[in-house]
């Protein structure tokens, strides 16, 4: 019983991290109609930027989180403006709209990884912050870093949710996510909104990167596996649904931990993909994806 409870804690805590990255992926998907295959790299770069902020300014961890989010957000806007904008505006044709975007994402992913390599090298970097030993509840260990992640993730979720539902700008973002032409006719400056969405999504990825930094040393290859898990999370929760992304992350984390715990542990990573594939085949809209557009 203790073991099961342990597994649940582990699954939920890693799941929240998946959920945070999935949040950005979901946001980009609903806003720009693209599945961003380079998002894992922005998560990685965000994590590195967190270290850079700490080492340059010496600010505490929390401010490094905010700083990395802002810088990565701006970086995301630049990437979107310079590269993706042409594809989304170009529209039409199978090469450009659907496949072009996906292929472009892959290209961007390896290119960004190489840029990070040139900037920070291949060595894994430890995060200059320590949370100390976990809290022990009887026999069960609860790492503080995961508590921190949980709190931050919930706060970010709430802020994002409030922004989207309670503010005029948030309303415009949702409008753009649903229909760009119509929103343009409402007087919404759609190009700016698209950049905003992309920037916010990248900032979320950076947040995940900085939050996971202390438990996962930062290195240039860290993005890929995380991206796949986050995709699984986004799909399970329903692409385009923000609460779904977090829920999906937790489900993926739980599922893979429990499978690894009670089935063959060596195949741990495959379980997440199996979940992804099964959910996509059986219920492509995911668990919370009620009003999600099923298109590329």
């Amino acid at each position: 019983m203790d073991l099961l409870l342990d597994f649940v804690i582990v699954g939920v805590s890693i799941g929240i991290v998946y959920g945070l990255v999935a949040l950005g992926i979901s946001l980009i998907f609903s806003g720009l109609d693209i599945v961003h295959f380079a998002h894992g790299e922005l998560y990685m770069i965000g994590s590195f930027l967190g270290i850079a902020v700490i080492s340059f300014t010496g600010v505490p961890y929390f401010w490094a989180l905010i700083g990395a989010m802002i810088i990565t957000g701006v970086l995301g806007v630049v990437v979107e403006r310079v590269f993706y904008r042409r594809l989304t505006r170009g529209g039409g044709g199978y090469t450009v709209a659907g496949m072009g975007m996906i292929i472009c994402g892959f290209g961007m992913s390896v290119a960004l990884q190489n840029v990070a390599y040139l900037l920070w090298g291949a060595a894994p970097h430890p995060y200059p912050v320590s949370f100390g030993m976990p809290i022990f509840l009887g026999n069960i260990a609860l790492p503080k870093s995961y508590l921190y992640i949980l709190i931050c993730a919930l706060v970010l979720m709430t802020v994002l949710h409030t922004f989207l539902t309670r503010t005029k700008l948030g309303l415009a973002v949702r409008a753009v996510a649903y229909n760009k032409d119509t929103s343009y006719l409402m007087g919404v400056n759609v190009p700016v909104m698209i950049s905003l969405i992309f920037g916010v999504a990248c900032a979320m990825a950076a947040a995940a990167g900085v939050l996971i930094g202390p438990i996962n040393y930062v290195q240039i290859e860290m993005g890929y596996l995380m991206l796949l898990k986050a995709f699984a999370a986004a799909v399970v929760g329903g692409f385009g649904s923000l609460p779904g992304a977090l829920l999906g992350g937790i489900l993926v984390g739980l599922f893979e931990t429990l499978c690894a715990g009670y089935l063959i542990a060596s195949y741990k990573d495959i379980y997440a993909f199996l979940l992804l594939i099964v959910v996509l085949m059986v219920r492509p809209t995911g668990l919370l994806g009620i009003l999600v557009k099923v298109k590329a």
Partner: protein, 425 residues
């Protein structure tokens, strides 16, 4: 820093004499006798220190050239990156063998890359000096062209296993990362315990490289209450596993053991205090008070900015100097037509290198037979314990063991035969 042992074997003397006569004969015939010995290096360069190993190899050969070369010949080094991917490694080896016409191949870092390269170079007839790969299968293949400077996993893991079984216990749990070296480390470890102490592993599972969360494994291990836990993985995965083993609450009384990659620089830096008390096996420790080691450490700090070099550093250095010994003893014509003969000469000369004392204190003894006994040069693993983690980590040497050349080969005849068969295919 010239400290290879004196040439002891008659073979070496004869070769040297032959080389001398040949050299003087050629010198008499034409003034421009100096040839170029080409060395091809293929390593995993896109890592923190990978490039520095390669650079050091090139620099060391350059230093030899600057000091007058080898028997009047200069050495030309080419470096290629293989990314620890076998297809790139094979391409590099093929390029060296057929396009660049190298006389000696040095590589690779990763066992999974060295394994297929053995076949390629066997076919091409190029001597191969391995600086880092430890997987026991590499020499088990029985190619006459293969020589290994580092310690085969059949020795090193056994040394750690022997120490563990005698001092800690035999109820051991294992997790290892999905790379060939880590896997071999863990596998040889529990095979030793099984063979000599009759105890099966409490837990033995593999995880993916770069895996974020090892706690699913560790929780299961925690519930099995082992006496020791071996985490065999590349440094960052090892560090993560180590920290998480404390996070899930495996008590400190359970001894943590690392694989050979635990010696790599990032491991103690990343895992901080968690690494204290962890021991692992390696070929070298920078904490060795031996002046020769301290001189080497000073050199790497000055030239490459690495104040605490790991054993991959020392082995790359050793490989260069083993190669030099061979070059000195080989009878080389170094003309366009003599490529095959020169390669064979270098191979034979490598086979005569004995008594070369490595920086780690082990002795490299090669012999002419194409057997693991002959080609696994160094048989002396060092057991090292971390006494302090972090940037300025500290180590202490627990001890060294030298194994018999045929240790660990019992029961491997069938595997060896299969490997040898595939070599000829």
């Amino acid at each position: 820093m010239n400290r290879y042992p004196p040439k002891k074997t008659g073979n070496g003397v004869r070769n040297a004499l032959l080389a001398f006569t040949a050299a003087s004969l050629v010198a008499g015939a034409s003034a421009a006798s100096a040839g170029v010995i080409k060395v091809g290096v293929s390593l995993r360069m896109k890592t923190e220190t990978g490039e520095k190993y390669g650079q050091m190899v090139a620099d060391e050969f350059e230093a030899i050239n600057a000091a007058g070369g080898v028997n009047g010949n200069t050495i030309e080094v080419k470096l290629l990156n293989d990314e620890c991917k076998s297809d790139i490694g094979v391409a590099n080896a093929t390029k060296y063998a057929y396009q660049d016409n190298v006389h000696l191949f040095i590589g690779s870092s990763c066992s999974s890359v060295s394994l297929p390269i053995v076949d390629v170079l066997h076919k091409a007839g190029v001597p191969m000096l391995i600086p880092h790969s430890t997987n026991y299968k590499i020499t088990l293949k029985g190619s006459p062209w293969v020589f290994r400077v580092p310690i085969s996993s059949r020795f090193s893991a056994a040394a750690a296993a022997k120490y563990t079984a005698e001092n800690i216990g035999t109820k051991i749990a294992y997790i290892w990362a999905s790379d060939a070296a880590s896997q071999a480390d863990a596998q040889k470890f529990y095979e030793y315990i099984e063979t000599y102490h009759g105890e099966l592993p409490v837990y033995a599972e593999q995880f993916q490289e770069g895996e974020l969360d090892l706690r699913a494994h560790l929780l299961k291990i925690k519930s099995l209450k082992p006496e020791a836990l071996m985490i065999s993985a590349q440094s960052q995965d090892f560090a993560r596993g180590l920290v998480q083993s404390y996070e899930v609450g495996i008590p400190p009384s359970v001894k943590r053991i690392g694989g050979s990659a635990a010696s790599n620089r990032p491991a103690p830096i990343l895992s901080g205090d968690a690494i204290k008390g962890v021991f692992f096996h390696a070929a070298f420790s920078f904490a060795d008070p031996d002046p020769k080691v301290q001189e080497f450490v000073k050199m790497t700090a000055e030239r490459y900015g690495v104040a605490n070099p790991d054993h991959d550093f020392s082995q790359a250095w050793d490989s260069v100097h083993v190669a030099r010994v061979a070059f000195e003893r080989a009878d080389l014509a170094l003309t366009d037509d003599s490529l095959a003969a020169d390669r064979a000469a270098i191979r034979d000369a490598l086979g005569t290198v004995t008594g070369y004392v490595t920086l780690g204190g082990g002795v490299v003894d090669f012999c002419a037979d194409a057997t693991p006994e002959c080609r696994d040069g160094n048989k002396t693993p060092v057991l090292i314990e971390y006494t302090k983690g972090g940037e300025d980590y500290e180590l202490r040497v627990i001890g060294k063991t030298t194994f018999d050349a045929d240790f660990g080969l019992a029961g491997m005849e069938e595997e060896a035969m299969k490997l040898r068969e595939s070599l000829d295919n």
